[in-house]
Amino acid sequence: MATYSVGQARRARAARIRSNRPLRDRLANTGAFILLIILAIIWIIPLLWTIDTAFKPEGETTIVPLTWFSAHFNVDAFVKTINSTSLPTWYFNSFITSAIITILTVILSSMAAFALSRVPFRGRGILFWIILAGIMIPGTVLIVPLFTEMQSFGLVDTWWGIILPQIASPIAVFIFKQFFDGIPHELEEAAIMDGASRWRVYWQIWMPLSRAAIAAVAIFTFVISWNNFIWPFIVITGNDMMTIPVGLATVQTSYGIRYAQIMASAILACLPVLIVFIFFQRQIVQGIAGTGLKE
């Protein structure tokens, strides 16, 4: 069959197999689906309680026994949180800082990981361990010297004061490196043979292939930087520079129990991140199926 390519033959065969998938596999899929539904229900119950509480009147959030239903569901808690706080300003600060942190982290760490994975330079091994060691340092105590350092740079109470200490992420480097190590060498060797510089290889071959890894790292970085409390709390003082966790902490840690407001503020705080996740998770799916050896 001279007109058939090897690839076509393989694809045809696969298609035949898929359509004749044994009953056993179909049953397994159904079983998996049911199991997933059960797990998903268990997983979602605490979240549902959060949402349920946010819409209750404050006086009903501490009734014993706990009830899901209320006769007086309302949006008071949300309105109160929005009115009594500088939520829009905090959203803005959080978004700017988290977005910049995410972008810079992805760029810096993927470049570093590319070098560690693909460029056989001297000192590569030691540098990898030095970078990995960074994950093992307990960050809590670093805050004190870091603050002094930011003071001497004059970056206290600035966006860059929030951003800069968070862009060097050894975890991101590690994740990228592991993904890169899994991609075969043939791809870039073909390109290098064609005369491409390493930078072009990085930019035009690697980055597109690593969409899944980029999406994963971007999501984590965004979530973690968004929820970071202690560093922005220490380095920021002005009301107009506060990020969401810092600002909302005053709602969430006040005397007196105000569960509806706490939950409402939590939902308002998490919404942007949820949207970011939903957008990025499509990227993970669309991440190249297969190892890039498409035919």
Binding site: I63, F147, R258
Partner: protein, 459 residues
């Protein structure tokens, strides 16, 4: 000039001082109000921005103020801040609310050590000593304070004294917030614990108290009393109140020696053990929120906590009243702390800002009737003794305890939210929950405090 126009002119003058209207606008409007143009010009000279204002503080002075009040307290604090800003437009108040808890003090310490602290800040009275001894605070100038109606006679002697370190005043108290008892009026009535006018009958001694709780328990079918145990400092507050009623001390006045009276401590711990383990009138494994929920829903008759939960139960429409923490052992003490104003140490003091700080503190103290709504006892006696405050129920019911409260022992490691409170609460919790006997709990408590005493002080 007729009064309304006088008022309008005052307002214009204030705006002028705050730099909010131009000279030309001022002239035009004051003439429109009926002032002759020459009089208007004279007034303008006097009010031109940068000149002295009614308070004598230059217009446009910036005042930075840190506090840790969110929630209901936050609302009241904001109101007092607004009252101040309205009365003194010449001062540009920048009030920053930070999260309550440990990070607040870390941040305050680092800011003061690093040289860019706020002009005035809130601090718990019990957290102030290490700050003062660590050179992070400036002492108050008593003469300057007196100019703003803040003198020793405006406060109860014990509270005023507490703000002093080495003879200098470092903290001006805003309030005292004691550990109190809440009770459900309907349950207490059904249990026969109220007198004719609906007040709690006097209960004398530990046995009588347990009996009263048992009666309440019969009414609720659940518990007689609830208070936070799991992971909470309430453990310490209960113990300390009861132990102090017996006349016990924990540390020597210089904060260097452990002076716990074992017998008295065991007496207190045994009574506490009775509550949760023997008579089982109170739940043993409940946390802060759970105890509130129980009381709010009428599942227990009595509730022990700081007074700050008053608005919580008002919101939940629980029928309740508040009284001082029960005097079970006779001394009448209860644990408390105070919120105070402190002056973080400035690298170089700006006299205008320092003056504005004093004015600010004075204004808030005079306005602290607003603050009292949250349950706190105003420290400023002109407010605390006012009829207005006395009419505020149930908040004023326990105001009398202010003179007799006990605060956490003075030591560098002590104070609200400190390591001290954490290491003493843990064995007490274990005793409440039956994992340790009172004797074992006491032994662990003493060992932990001794360990802290042996630790080299970082201040």
């Amino acid at each position: 000039m007729i009064p309304e126009k006088h008022g309008a002119l005052e307002e214009l003058a204030a705006k002028m001082r705050a730099g909010r209207i131009s000279r030309r606008a001022f002239l035009e409007r004051s003439v429109a109000l009926g002032l002759s143009s020459s009089a208007a010009l004279t007034l303008l000279e006097a009010c031109a921005s940068g000149g002295p204002s009614a308070s004598g503080i230059p217009t446009g002075t910036h005042l930075v103020y840190w506090n840790l009040f969110g929630g209901g307290d936050g609302v009241r604090m904001v109101q007092m801040q607004d009252d101040f800003q309205k009365a003194h437009p010449e001062i540009n108040l920048e009030a920053i609310t930070l999260a309550w808890g440990e990070p607040y003090y870390t941040k305050l310490a680092m800011a003061a050590a690093g040289g860019r602290p706020p002009d005035v800040a809130i601090s718990h009275m019990t957290r102030m000593p290490p700050f003062a001894q660590g050179d992070l605070l400036d002492p108050f100038d008593l003469n300057a304070l007196a100019k703003y109606d803040i003198t020793a006679s405006d406060f109860l002697a014990p509270i005023w004294q507490r703000g002093h370190i080495n003879g200098q005043l470092y903290a001006v108290p805003l309030d005292t917030h004691p550990f109190v008892m809440y009770y459900n009026t309907e349950i207490a009535k059904k249990a026969g614990l109220l007198d004719a006018s609906g007040n709690l009958l006097p209960i004398n001694g530990p046995d009588a108290f347990i009996n009263a709780l048992k009666k309440a328990q019969q009414v609720t079918g659940g518990y007689g009393l609830a208070f936070a145990i799991n992971g909470d400092v309430t453990n310490w507050r209960v113990f300390y109140s009861l132990y102090s009623q017996l006349g016990g001390q924990v540390l020597s006045p210089d904060g260097k020696q452990l002076v716990i009276d074992d017998n008295k401590a065991l007496q207190a711990l045994s009574f506490m053990d009775d509550l949760t383990q023997k008579s089982k009138v109170a739940p043993a494994t409940i946390d802060y929120g759970g105890a509130i929920a129980l009381f709010a829903s009428g599942k227990c008759g009595f509730f022990w906590q700081g007074e700050w939960e008053v608005t919580t139960f008002q919101t939940a429409n629980t029928p309740f009243n508040m009284v001082p923490f029960p005097n079970i052992f006779g001394g009448g003490q209860c644990q408390a702390d105070s919120h105070t104003f402190v002056l973080p140490r400035q690298a170089s003091v700006d006299p205008a800002r320092r003056e504005a700080s004093y004015l600010f503190i004075s204004s808030l103290l005079k306005d602290s009737f607003v603050w009292a709504h949250g349950g706190h006892i105003p420290a400023y006696l002109p407010i605390a003794t006012s009829q207005e405050y006395k009419n505020l129920k149930p908040q004023s019911n326990y105001a009398g305890v202010a003179a007799n409260v006990v605060v956490d022992p003075t030591a560098w490691f002590s104070g609200s939210g400190s390591e001290f409170e954490s290491v003493v609460s843990a064995p007490i919790q274990a005793s409440f929950q039956g994992q340790l006997t009172p004797q074992q709990a006491l032994a662990q408590l003493k060992a932990s405090v001794q360990k802290l005493l042996n630790t080299p002080s970082p201040v």
